[in-house]
Amino acid sequence: MKCLIDSWTGPMTWSGELMPETAPLMLKIGNKPLLEFYLDYCVRQHIGAVKIILRYSSPELRDYFQDGGRWGISIGYAMARPDETLDEVLAHNRAFVGTEPLLLIRGLFFLHFGEQLPEWQLPEVGGQGWCVKWEGEPVWAAIPAGKWPDDIREYPFDSPDIPLSPLASVRDYFHLNMRIIQLPPRRYVLPGYNNDDGISLGQGVELAHTCRLNKPVMIADGVHLEAVTSIGPNAIIGTNVLIDRATAVADAIVCDHSYVGADLEIRHKIIYRNHLIDPETGFSVDIVDNFLLTNMAEARGLDLLTLFFQRIPALLLLLLLALPYLGLRLLAPVRTIRLQIWKNQRLEEMTLTVPDPSGTGWVDRLRRRLCVDKFKLLIPVLKGQLFLTGNRPLTNTLANAEMVRELKVYHPAAFPFIETIDREFCDEGENNSIYEFYYSSNFSWLYDLVIVGRIILRRLWHG
């Protein structure tokens, strides 16, 4: 027997709306991807080959499941258009099935094979097979060997009583998770977890000694719980999560890669990175405030990349410009002005000392040509207060606050992208915002280095 898993979700669109960065088949049920439950079941059914039909790009899914060696089965992948019909999917994958019976799995459903019915077996795929439908669409079906249907909807399958729970809404998803965590036999806990009397801990979990765990709780790998946190009862914490001090999490799910701020009370909620979701109403708040919730992956990645692509080049430039800076300073003093700027998208402010752009003497012009005027700005870059390349540091006006909030990223920088644009295309007013939006949508760490190079060359050439 073989298995075809179609990533079709049909009308179950909630996961894409509320958890857009997670492929629906990677939704975690008790910290385990939904697809892994399907594979576990395939293993129990002695299914040796599984083909996963992806209707969306998901490198995360492929990385996690790879060729299926971890489960002792062979996994292959195929792509399908999002609107591809079931008939087309079956036709395109007929060669995979060959002459063997086929188990077809579609949609977001949870099969309760490990609870009341631990030894539950699929109905025999004899005779004409069987099919379970949901809202008129086949979702789980078994096609006997050599009886390939012309139209699976018309095929007179039986409908066996299969314990499937549809994940038709975020409410279903939440309550299924809460149910799984309370199950006494803990059949669904991931291998590698310590599973002790209602408290399941993954690897690399760091708990402050004043942290309190109220069972049942399930905490995945790489979780850090700060002092005086209270977790549970009924809390599921995903991988790479930081819960800050004095925060309580109960009857809640905190998904992977989330930071939960200090002194918060998360009850009956789902935290998905910086999204706060009410499971009962499906309301989702996108929190832009990094003190409350934020995305851990971004925060971690930034530091390392900042070191290599921002601070090290800044240090080299600082050393390179030190002599010209000191030499020109002997000829004429450096005139500066102080600006109050927005430091980040949380709208924190900082004072920045910048060279006075009104200087017109030949020493001032030479300073600009050699980028010596950037010398003092490189120090806050090294301190991590400013970026080497990025957006123009925006002064702390209300209009700029609006812009800062709307930008995808705001990196106030010593070498802003706008300096690569010809002056004739720049205005003094807000029309320049287009360049800030362009940068924030297209920035990459390598592109940043190109921008620095361009600015230096433009200044050398044009002054």
């Binding site: 009410d278 409350l292 949380r346 709208l347 606050a401």
Partner: protein
């Protein structure tokens, strides 16, 4: 953010509309400080406030603190769904009296 001040019987109603965040919080704090010279009982009508962040919340808490120190009070009305979730997770709902309409909040001052 836009604020509208409506004197009403025993209390002053301050209707807050739009985003209450780091950029707009100082404005609310300043306006509230001026009103606190002559008034003690306030109702913040949050019907049209569609967003609040920690600075905005801190501003409302600071207003409450100033009001209580002057023997006054602030009551909140018409808290919308999304800001309500922020009030929930920050436990701010524990320090405010929250009503679902202006009339009952005003009556509570009588």
């Amino acid at each position: 953010m836009k604020t509208t001040v409506i004197p009403s019987g025993h209390a002053v109603i301050i209707a807050v509309a739009g985003r209450l965040d780091a950029a707009s919080a100082p404005q609310l704090k300043k306006e509230f400080g001026e009103l606190l010279h002559d008034n003690r009982s306030f109702i913040f009508d949050l019907k049209d406030m569609d967003f609040i962040d920690s600075t905005g919340l801190g501003c409302i808490v600071a207003c409450l603190k100033s009001a209580v120190e002057a023997d006054g009070n602030i009551k909140l009305v018409n808290l919308q769904e999304k800001p309500r979730m922020v009030f929930e997770i920050t436990r701010a709902y524990k320090i405010f009296e929250i009503f679902d309409n202006v009339d009952t909040a005003a009556e509570s001052y009588n």
